[in-house]
């Protein structure tokens, strides 16, 4: 019996290995079908709406080719996981995928994506995509693997009423970091019950801390996370200065208490309660904030557009270009295992033409990357913040999208957390970051400043 069980187990394992190697493709897309995989999550149904509409147009134009939509209902990490699993098996690999710019390099390395250079070179609309938008879809090898659908930018949201009460003139336009801190100090003095300034910080907020918090500061100094050769920078002054800013906010009690800020759900509290209830004066946050407050949002708030103001985050000392922003964003990409690449590309082209891009960017409060869409009055008038946040595109930065980045990001969050809680000085935390960086990316990929 034992031997039988063993035989069964070995048999099953062998069958499995075989199955893994040579998945026979009966689920596979026949040449007449293209599979389109995208995220549909919570109140993010805009992509679903958009893809349904594009699929209809596509099927009308391409007789004989069917579009099979595969909406994946999950939050980010689960979405990435499912997409990776689907990509691994030829039978289920999608032809067109909704792909985070952030994962393009890694997924291209993994062999999931097909290069698009030969397609875009023949595409008349490609000239509408500015350079930084093109770079967002680039792999490590310099080839294009994804075409941008839209992006986001980051800046300061402020409550006009609260600022005015503290004697600050609106519209408010801080020129340096000190202007921001001064305003926060004035608010603290004038209105003790109000949290003057929120800068996301610490591990619980994850990437929000790194991107909305730390990088919005660091990229406004003379330094960045990587140098022009793509090497990681250790020991830069900008890094310590950015940590110093975080320390000032939290140790001088200009921000939320560390306890509040380290609560995993503080993000929802900020957009759902603190800002609408006038408990927070200034918030360093993303261009998408108003999505929460529109009538279909998670926390509808009628007066948001009159109560709130928005302005750019200044550079450290006001040095050129004077303001700073960080961007992420999503693309459409072509699956490398697609059996019908021509049709898949035609689908991407259709989904990203002017009319459909415009439609999607309005629907999803995205910052358009296509120049013609960004300048379209229909777009700029659809949300009062649109013109402002798209004006940040020229000064925006993208994260170093290597597969090491998540580990580096984690090290940044640890450094922020130890500074905000007063466990370490900015210099000590920066030193600890340098050590963690060495561990994460290897000493060969680091330059010392």
């Amino acid at each position: 019996m034992k031997r039988l069980a063993l035989a069964l187990a070995t048999g099953a394992a062998a069958a499995l290995v075989l199955a893994g190697c040579s998945a026979p493709g009966s689920v596979s897309s026949s040449s007449g079908t293209i599979k389109v995989a995208y995220q549909k999550f919570g109140n993010f149904t805009q992509m679903d709406t958009q893809m349904k509409a594009v699929a209809k147009q596509f099927e009308a134009q391409n007789k004989g080719v069917k579009v099979q939509l595969v909406p994946i209902q999950a939050a980010e990490n689960d979405y990435y996981t499912k997409l990776a699993l689907m990509n691994k098996a030829a039978a289920t690999a999608p032809d067109v995928l909704y792909e985070d710019t952030f994962l393009i390099k890694a997924d291209a390395d993994a062999g999931y994506l097909a290069p698009l250079d030969s397609y875009v070179s023949k595409w008349s609309d490609w000239k509408q995509f500015p350079d930084n938008a093109r770079q967002a879809g680039q792999g490590d090898d310099g080839k294009i693997y994804g075409v941008s659908l839209g992006t986001d930018t980051r800046g300061l949201w402020y409550n006009k009423t609260l600022l005015q009460k503290a004697g600050i003139a609106v519209p408010w336009q801080p020129k340096t970091w000190d202007d921001v801190l001064d305003a926060a100090r004035k608010i603290k003095a004038a209105e003790p019950g109000v949290i003057p300034l929120n800068v996301y910080s610490g591990k619980p907020q994850g990437e929000a801390s790194t991107m909305q918090g730390f990088e919005m500061l660091l990229y406004g100094t003379a330094d960045q996370l990587t140098d022009s050769d793509g090497k990681w920078v250790a020991g830069s002054k900008g890094f310590t200065d950015a940590l110093q800013f975080v320390q000032t906010v939290y140790q001088d009690k200009l921000g939320p208490t560390p306890q509040q800020a380290l609560d995993v759900n503080v993000g929802t509290e900020i957009s759902g309660q603190w800002i609408p209830q006038g408990k927070l004066a200034i918030d360093l946050d993303g261009s998408w904030q108003s999505q929460n407050w529109i009538s279909s949002g998670a926390a509808p708030w009628k007066d948001w557009s009159t109560t709130m103001g928005w302005t750019a985050m200044p550079t450290q000392n006001g040095q050129a270009p004077g303001k700073v922003s960080m961007s992420g964003g999503w693309t459409l990409a072509l699956g490398s295992k697609s059996k019908n690449k021509e049709a898949a590309w035609n689908f991407i082209k259709l989904a990203l033409n002017k009319k459909n891009s415009l439609n999607f960017d309005i629907l999803d409060t995205q910052i358009p990357v296509r120049t013609d869409v960004a300048n379209d009055p229909k777009y700029t008038s659809s949300n009062p913040t649109n013109a402002f946040f798209s004006s940040l595109v020229p000064v925006t930065h993208f994260r170093p999208a290597t597969s090491d980045y998540p580990k580096v990001s984690n090290a940044i969050q640890v450094a922020m957390e130890s500074v905000m809680t007063g466990q370490q000085s900015p210099a000590q935390a920066a030193k600890a970051y340098d050590d963690a960086l060495k561990q994460a990316v290897g000493p060969d990929n680091i330059v010392k400043k």
Binding site: A5, A19, F41, G42, A89, G267, E269, G286
Partner: protein
């Protein structure tokens, strides 16, 4: 009991008051769910809604959000629980009644294996399903979840079966009954509470399982409610708490009903006591 001594009555009173205290402790965290479900501006603090609103329930009780996923959940969980219980009863019988060299290593091995988080197993499981052409197949999901809950179910079932005295079976055997008929007519009726526990346990686990259907199914219309619950989470971490709470309560009702039903119908426990004493 007709005549209760003072100490008995005292005992009963103490038991009841401790039970009441525990009930309150268990109910308090649920309070937020209940209150939030009637508040169209709910958040994570407990507060009475500005005005009592059924908006959350109205938003949630739609075919695509609630009815279809709940129906799918019901099919998947029922299928999984029935298969698991049937297979586990069969397997537990020889494991309980005969001493086999295989028993323990086999059981321990698989029991531990199944406790690997599904996240650790998902890559091989996915390629297995691609190989078997079972991706996007509900029966495939049911079979996998049944297999995954089987070791625990066999383990529990064997344990319950061990406590069924063998005397009654010996009587059946001497009457010439076959093993199967003894199992069905003598053993199974005696271990109804145990079977109920295993059934509820497997059902609840299947009902709450998010990751397995999420990984193995593709078509939105096949997804169970455990997956559609994520419809209330927003893109940038925002959550519609009111609708989430309303949906959760709706989602919990079938399982609670199952619990009440099984504890009333199957969980009496008096059947066994009667049989042994008889």
């Amino acid at each position: 009991m007709a005549m209760t001594s003072p100490s008995r009555r005292h005992l009963r009173w103490t038991s009841n008051s401790i039970l009441a205290l525990i009930a309150v402790c268990f109910a308090l965290p649920l309070l937020w769910l209940l209150v939030a479900s009637f508040d169209d501006h709910a958040n994570l603090t407990l507060k009475l809604p500005g005005h009592f609103s059924l908006a959350n329930y109205q938003a949630v009780l739609t075919p695509s959000l609630a009815y279809v996923p709940l129906w799918n959940s019901m099919m998947i969980s029922l299928g999984c629980a029935i298969i698991t219980v049937a297979v586990a009863v069969l397997a537990a019988y020889p494991l309980s009644r005969y001493r086999m060299r295989l028993n323990r290593p086999f059981l321990y091995g698989v029991l531990f294996g199944t406790c690997l988080p599904i996240t650790a197993m998902m890559v091989p499981v996915y390629s297995l399903f691609v190989g078997l052409n079972l991706i996007d197949s509900e029966p495939g999901v049911v079979l996998f979840m049944a297999a995954a809950s089987l070791p625990m179910a066999i383990w529990m079932m064997k344990n319950f079966m061990d406590s069924v005295p063998i005397v009654l079976e010996e009587a059946a055997w001497s009457d010439g009954a076959s093993m199967m008929s003894t199992l069905w007519h003598v053993v199974v009726p005696l271990m109804r509470p145990g079977i109920a526990v295993v059934f509820v346990f497997v059902f609840v686990q299947a009902w709450g399982n998010f990751f397995v259907p999420f990984i193995l199914l593709l078509s939105p219309e096949k997804f169970p409610a455990a997956v559609s619950i994520f419809a209330f989470f927003g893109q940038y971490g925002s959550v519609m708490y009111g609708q989430l709470a309303a949906f959760s309560l709706v989602y919990s009702v079938p399982v609670l009903a199952l619990y009440v039903f099984t504890s009333r119908v199957l969980g009496g426990g008096s059947a066994l006591a009667g049989a042994v004493k008889g």
